[in-house]
């Protein structure tokens, strides 16, 4: 089925719909602009479907995808033979394949699974075995002295480590932005401030209700992340899973810490979580986190002083030189965990609905793989599209510290954010782009502005001026009289 064909078929139904309330129509409606929704939008557009992405927030990445560790996982420790493992592997491969053309960065940091106790070291055999079963063959056992040769600033208390050379660091925000952009450049559509509240399926088409009007589509993919269960309940009447929000807090260290360690320092993982990690960021900082805290609220990404101090202490314990390094920022992200460990990918083929639920802690890596999985699920239902030949490949601006930044090219106007060296030219493009920044947070994710050591001390006023009239939640709430 291609777009033209679809339009003919859809005509009889148009009579029923008040055109005034129809926001958009397409083959596939994707609900949610997290990393998963963006990746699915890209994949299905490339496969030839007409795609409509609907997001309840003013911008993409308003849920779980706004705060993660940005590690591109090899899947060495994923549960063997699961769908999660498969999606992680496929996502990993595809990211490496497409990243150059989309201008997405990669920090080839490698990781060390570090053992600090005898018990942890004892688990190494199992970890290596699991890695091998998962197809990650280049794991390397390192003795204490080998670890310290590689990472001389780690605490002397280190006992041994497993090197995982293929674990990398990426830009957690530019990647999904690039995926969605590619969908849009090739004919996809996206609508914001359009949260889906309900919908009807007439046996052939869905009509989804949003505050901006109805969206008509043959297939619906629920990519609502932290709200995936609620969406299923609201629209399908039932849900097979319940989201159990799991917060992860982080402490970001000053850029001076970046040179202290090159690898991602992973703990020996437990059943429940990947544990507290010490890792470089693509923006040239060093971070520690995330915690794993169960909570009720899906939108509560507040931080807690005691936890942050505890994280800080743990980081200093592993990397003593951090004692002298100031903290730059603190933040938290929320994982869309469920009562079970695995991804909750559920197909309601009678109702042309697929739910991508519980993409808990590997979604940034797995998104491209999950998107391929969606395509194969649809193909299995004999939904055929004709893949686009020579799709347009957009470039996203580079924000990685180790690659040339905008300020290195003359004519940038002025540096606005001095700590992160963000130019007026970058701010301007982020505000006027095809998917423009619609909040200060969105602007941060697209430019790094205010993310640095002064946290906006020097540039917030200038940003308030440059973003006037652009955001629903403006930096300034009024003007000085007179």
């Amino acid at each position: 089925m291609n777009a033209a064909h679809y339009n003919e078929n859809s005509r009889p139904h148009d009579d029923r719909i008040s055109t005034a309330s129809l926001l958009a129509e397409g083959d596939i409606a994707i609900i949610g602009g997290g990393v998963v929704g963006c990746a699915v939008a890209r994949r299905m557009t490339l496969e030839g479907a007409s795609v409509v992405l609907i997001e309840k927030a003013a911008d993409i990445l308003d849920g779980a995808s706004k705060g993660n560790s940005a590690i591109l996982h090899t899947g060495f420790d994923a549960p063997v033979g699961t769908l999660e493992w498969e999606c992680v592997q496929k996502g990993y491969e595809e990211y490496l394949e497409i990243r150059k053309s989309l201008n997405l960065p990669l920090l080839k940091s490698g990781a060390l699974v570090a053992a600090w106790t005898e018990e942890e070291e004892e688990r190494f055999t199992d970890i290596i075995k699991k890695g091998h079963e998962n197809g990650v063959k280049d794991l390397l056992l390192l003795s204490r002295s080998e670890v310290l040769d590689l990472e001389p600033n780690l605490s002397e208390n280190i006992r041994a480590a497993i090197a995982v050379p293929g674990e990398y660091v990426i830009d957690p925000w530019s990647a999904p932005l690039a995926y969605l952009l590619q969908a849009l450049e090739n004919g996809g559509q996206a609508f914001f401030n359009a949260g889906v509240r309900g919908g009807d399926f007439d046996g052939a088409y869905w009509l989804l209700n949003t505050p901006r009007g109805k969206v008509k589509a043959r297939y619906v993919i629920n990519c609502a992340g932290l709200y995936g269960d609620i969406l299923d309940r609201d629209v399908l009447g039932a849900t097979e899973f319940n989201i159990k929000p799991r917060k992860g807090q982080f402490v970001v260290f000053d850029k001076a810490a970046h040179k202290l360690v090159r690898s991602i320092i992973l703990p020996v993982p437990t059943e429940r979580t990947k544990g507290i990690v010490l890792f470089p960021t693509i923006f040239g900082n060093l971070m520690v986190g995330p915690t794993a805290e169960e909570q009720e609220a899906r939108g509560d990404s507040s931080v807690a002083k005691e936890i942050l101090s505890e994280l800080h202490a743990q980081a200093v314990q592993k990397l003593p030189a951090l004692t002298d390094i100031p903290v730059t920022a603190t933040y938290a992200g929320i994982r869309p965990a469920t009562e079970r460990k695995e991804y909750r990918i559920i197909e309601d083929s009678a109702r042309n609905w697929i739910t991508l639920g519980g993409i808990r802690s590997t979604g940034l890596t797995a998104a491209l793989g999950i998107a391929r999985h969606v395509h194969s699920l649809l193909s299995n239902q004999d939904v055929e599209f004709k893949a686009i030949e020579n799709p347009i490949v957009p470039h996203v601006p580079n924000l990685a510290e180790h690659l040339p930044r905008d300020y290195e090219t003359p004519g940038y106007g002025e540096i606005i954010c001095h700590c992160e060296m963000v130019t007026r030219r970058e701010i301007h493009s982020a505000l006027t782009a095809k998917v423009p920044a619609a909040s200060l947070a969105g602007l941060k994710r697209r430019t790094r502005a205010t993310m640095g050591r002064c946290q906006g001390f020097y540039c917030s006023a200038r940003l308030a001026e440059l973003t006037r009239g652009k955001f629903d939640e403006p930096l300034a709430v009024g003007e000085v009289d007179g």
Binding site: A256, S302, I415, A464, A476
Partner: protein, 335 residues
């Protein structure tokens, strides 16, 4: 306020890049030092600053008292800044605005970036005068949401005095330093009514002006009280505080101003070959203000502990300039 750069402040002077003295920072310290150097007959003096206009922090302190010692007049920050710039220009100082120093190299070699491109500045001596700023919320590790409306005094001042914009209507002000007093004055000027001033300690850091200000502005001062949680996901809607008895309560507000707790702007030093005092985060200097690489000097609020008012920074700038003159004339005793 006009944000367009003035032609004479642009970086064309940089092309010929062998300088006697290069000064990083066009605040009171840097401008005072530059003027003093020129007056002492040093030929080639340049001040580099990343902002679009010179003057440093006083540019956005729209209130008096500035300039009493330097110009025997009571001035507001912005007019004081203009006066400093005028003196420097009259003395023949070169000013390169929108010019960020990105790293400090051995023997006075600076990497710079300006809208014209990347470059290098070489000088016989370099003076670091990058000033100090207030500690942000993150470093204080305050619990709670991270909505809009949380800032330092500096940001509040820039918004109001440079951009005529108001970030909130009813903030809580945290801290009782001199700068906290500035925060109250700035609010007053913009018609913002702070709902409370909080101080963790049992008494105000600077007593006289604070008690006086609280009285004049009608802002309740709560001593022994600290924020335990900031509420408001999109924008601040309240803070939870704990008082000296450990009793907790909520104060409804739409912003939080974290004042003071100054930290030197020493990241250039931290990332460089120069020695840094890890505790105070200030560059290590000898009695002349000279860094561990003797072609570098530091002065002003980058060095002062605690931070000083503009007048004191101005004096330190002049003094350090005199040391640099002696050094260039080979009259300085080695340490």
């Amino acid at each position: 306020m006009n944000h367009l750069p003035s032609g004479k402040w642009m970086a064309d002077t940089l092309k010929d890049n062998r300088w006697d003295v290069a000064i990083i920072g066009a605040g009171p310290t840097g401008l005072a030092a530059a003027t003093e150097l020129k007056k002492a007959g040093i030929k080639r003096v340049i001040v580099l600053d990343r902002e679009f206009e010179p003057g440093g922090i006083p540019r956005h302190c729209g209130h008096p008292p500035f300039g009493i010692k330097e110009f025997s007049r009571v001035m507001t920050g912005p007019s004081y800044a203009r006066r400093l710039v005028g003196s420097a220009e009259n003395a023949g100082v070169n000013l390169a605005m929108k010019t960020t120093v990105t790293s400090l190299g051995a023997q006075g070699t600076l990497s710079i970036v300006s809208p014209e491109g990347l470059g290098e500045v070489k000088a016989k001596r370099v003076l670091l005068a990058t000033g100090a700023r207030e500690t942000p919320r993150s470093v204080r590790m305050i619990s709670g949401d991270r909505g809009l409306g949380i800032c330092n005094t500096g940001t509040l001042q820039s918004m109001i005095y440079l951009n005529n914009l108001i970030p909130f209507h009813r903030p809580v002000v945290v801290g009782t330093e001199i700068v906290s007093f500035s925060a109250l004055l700035t609010c007053k000027k913009a018609g913002i009514q702070p709902v409370a001033m909080l101080e963790e300690e049992s008494r105000a850091t600077v007593r006289w002006p604070i008690y006086h200000a609280v009285y004049i502005f009608g802002v309740p001062l709560f001593l022994g009280t600290r924020i335990i949680n900031i509420l408001g996901d999109k924008r601040v809607r309240a803070v939870r505080v704990s008082d000296k008895n450990g009793d907790k309560r909520e104060i409804v507000c739409d912003g939080v101003v974290f004042t003071g707790q100054f930290t030197p702007d020493s990241s250039l030093v931290r990332m460089s070959h120069l020695d840094l005092d890890q505790k105070t985060e200030r560059p290590l200097v000898d009695q002349y203000g000279r860094c561990s690489d003797p072609s570098y000097y530091a002065a002003g609020n980058l060095l002062n502990q605690p931070v000083e008012v503009a007048g004191k920074c101005w004096s330190k700038g002049c003094l350090t300039a005199q040391q640099i003159v002696k050094d260039l004339n080979e009259e300085l005793l080695s340490t």
